[in-house]
């Protein structure tokens, strides 16, 4: 089941200019969206996304959410807002300012030209074969595509079929850091080496063949690897990358100072997105963090995702968390560690009286 994504696309802000003025305007757009939907994610300059399901329910449906976001950003820049299943469809839906109903994204994509896949070589080759639309491309049998166009072509084929939500490499890694650095006149990071095909041992070769088989079985993006990068929160420090996809340079340098990092050991599981939770005291009253950064009551019980209550046996914090770099709202966020009955330990994040489980120690 592919995620319902809302995409805000700012046609005038897709490029980066020397002075960084366009990026600063994009930051304002993010801040305006964030007022309503705290989990908005910058994807690349001029494009941001957010999971639409929750906010749509809250704001009275997907068209209402689109209207809200459009209005909130209209005074800052020209924006196009749309919703579809998966990032690829959602960006195209935004470009057309459409809400594509859930489950119909493949039909929406079918008549669009193959050039939308962002690979001119592939598009040219397909055109010579008489294949001009995503629908025609999607109709090719998967094994033929893999044999003829390689793993990269197979990835795009899965995107065309709607099996995969986004093109590998479309997200610009570490865009937040990048914008910050660009504002300070820095340079982009140097490219990194994937190194996978460079491995020469028998073991590496055998693993490569095995993983190609698994990708044929599950699809290319069913097989991932994990990359470590700098950042403050556990989620920021982990990044999933499709196995064998071209490496895009990571921007989060490990040795940068990351004030507000949670002390080690690190949690074994990071929940992305975080799981909604409730924290109450022994009397059942909600516990929140006060304006002074203190808990209003002793945490007694925790419920995750509306599930059963579990007793909190120990806790630490709250520690003030970083403000989102684009936020003008000056939100107070804080983190807290809790140990539950049975010695399960969790990392919680709180913002405006709401709680989330960000990570699980295990």
């Amino acid at each position: 089941m592919m995620e319902r994504l809302l995409v805000v696309r700012c046609p005038g802000l897709l490029e980066e200019d020397e002075g960084g003025a366009l990026l600063r305007t994009f930051i304002q757009v993010l801040a305006a969206v964030e007022v309503y939907c705290p989990w908005v994610q910058p994807v690349r300059p001029g494009i941001c996304s957010l999971h639409a399901r929750g906010p749509a329910r809250y704001f009275g449906g997907e068209p209402a959410l689109v209207d809200l976001v459009t209005e909130a950003t209209a005074t800052i820049a020209e924006t196009q807002v749309g919703i579809a299943d998966g990032l690829f469809g959602a960006v195209l839906a935004a470009r057309a300012t459409l809400v594509v109903p859930a489950g119909t994204t493949p039909a929406f994509l079918a008549p669009l030209p193959v050039t939308t896949l962002g690979d001119p070589d592939l598009a040219e080759l397909l055109a010579r074969l008489g294949i001009r639309t995503l629908g025609n491309f999607a109709a090719l049998p998967e094994r033929h595509v893999l044999g003829r166009f390689g793993a990269d072509g197979a990835l795009r084929h899965r995107v065309a079929r709607g099996d995969t939500g986004e093109l590998a490499g479309f997200r610009q890694p570490g865009i937040d850091r990048r914008i910050q650095r660009d504002q300070h006149g820095g340079r982009p990071a140097a490219g990194t080496q994937g190194g996978f095909w460079g491995g020469t041992s028998d073991r590496d070769a055998r693993a490569a063949r095995t993983l190609a088989d698994v990708q044929r079985l599950l699809g290319a993006d069913g097989v991932l690897r994990i990359r470590l990068q700098g950042g403050r929160s556990p989620a920021e420090r982990s990044r999933l990358v499709t196995w064998g996809a071209r490496e895009t340079p990571g921007d989060r340098t490990m040795d940068a100072p990351w004030p507000g990092q949670i002390p080690p050991p690190a949690p074994a599981i990071v929940h992305t997105p975080p799981l909604g939770a409730e924290v109450v005291d022994d009397a059942g009253e909600p516990v929140v963090v006060s304006g002074r950064g203190l808990l209003t009551a002793t945490p007694g019980r925790l419920s995750v995702g509306g599930g059963p209550w579990t007793a909190v046996t120990a806790w630490a914090g709250p520690w003030p968390a970083e403000e989102r770099w684009w936020s003008r709202a000056r939100r107070r966020t804080a983190r807290m560690q809790v140990v539950l009955a049975g010695q399960d330990a969790r990392l919680l994040l709180t913002e405006q009286g709401r709680w989330w489980v960000e990570a699980t120690y295990g």
Partner: protein, 288 residues
Amino acid sequence: MPGLTSTGALAARLGLLYEHMFDAIVDGPEAPSETGPAGGECRTPVKDRAPAVRESLAILAERARPTSSSESQLLPVTPPLQGLFPDGGLRRGTSIVVAGEGAGGRGADRASGTTSGLTLGLSLLGAASSAGSWCAAVGLTGLGAVAADDLGIDLTRLVLLPSPGPKWAEATAVLLGGIDVVVLCPPFPVRPAMARRLLARTRDRGAILIVLPGHAGWPECPDIQLIVGNTRWDGIGSGDGHLRRRRVTVTATGRRSAARPRRRELWLPSMAGTVEDAGPDGPVDVPT
């Protein structure tokens, strides 16, 4: 802002948009720009790529051979864990089930089923991974990169299949054919016949299968079973300190030479996110 009201309206809109609208959308990292983006690399044109891929595969197929008999039948584990295994390491062709002792909070959320044994399961990979073995994890969502790295796992040789769906068993079977250590968190209940097939495949291919049963359960008897119990977090109180380390008792039982229970007191994770010996017996240095 118009929502989608009719397919006719949609078609009309799109008809206007086809010719010019999509070019700029995806022209980021994939576009072969004349100037060459910073950090970008030259790409082989598609028409030349397919033969190149075939050639690579041919070379790989030639290089790839079955596990040679001279290859060590034992993969290393970090010293604090050696005492849990009759051979002092992970024997190829064997299976290990790692579980928590009466993991509390059943059904509290999806994570709680696998967490109690997760760090122990992952810690078994550290030494083998550092020594060049390939590892894979099936059905494990949200693995923290920092925790895995701290346990000594080489992230360039770790493959994740977080959501394999209904083909999870088939995918696991394929992995066992070419990946040294496979961690399996079954996403669905496991039928005995399916479990037996995976165990047989593990034996045949000389792989190592580590199962974290979670709520799905594991119906077959493994070669070695590791139970995590007496867990106790250290360093955290009532609003003070922070999670510093976790003391656990790990008990190993099994078949044949592993039949005699072995017990180890461990810091798992330690203050550095690694595995450390917590003393042979009895609680030492556990503050209240």
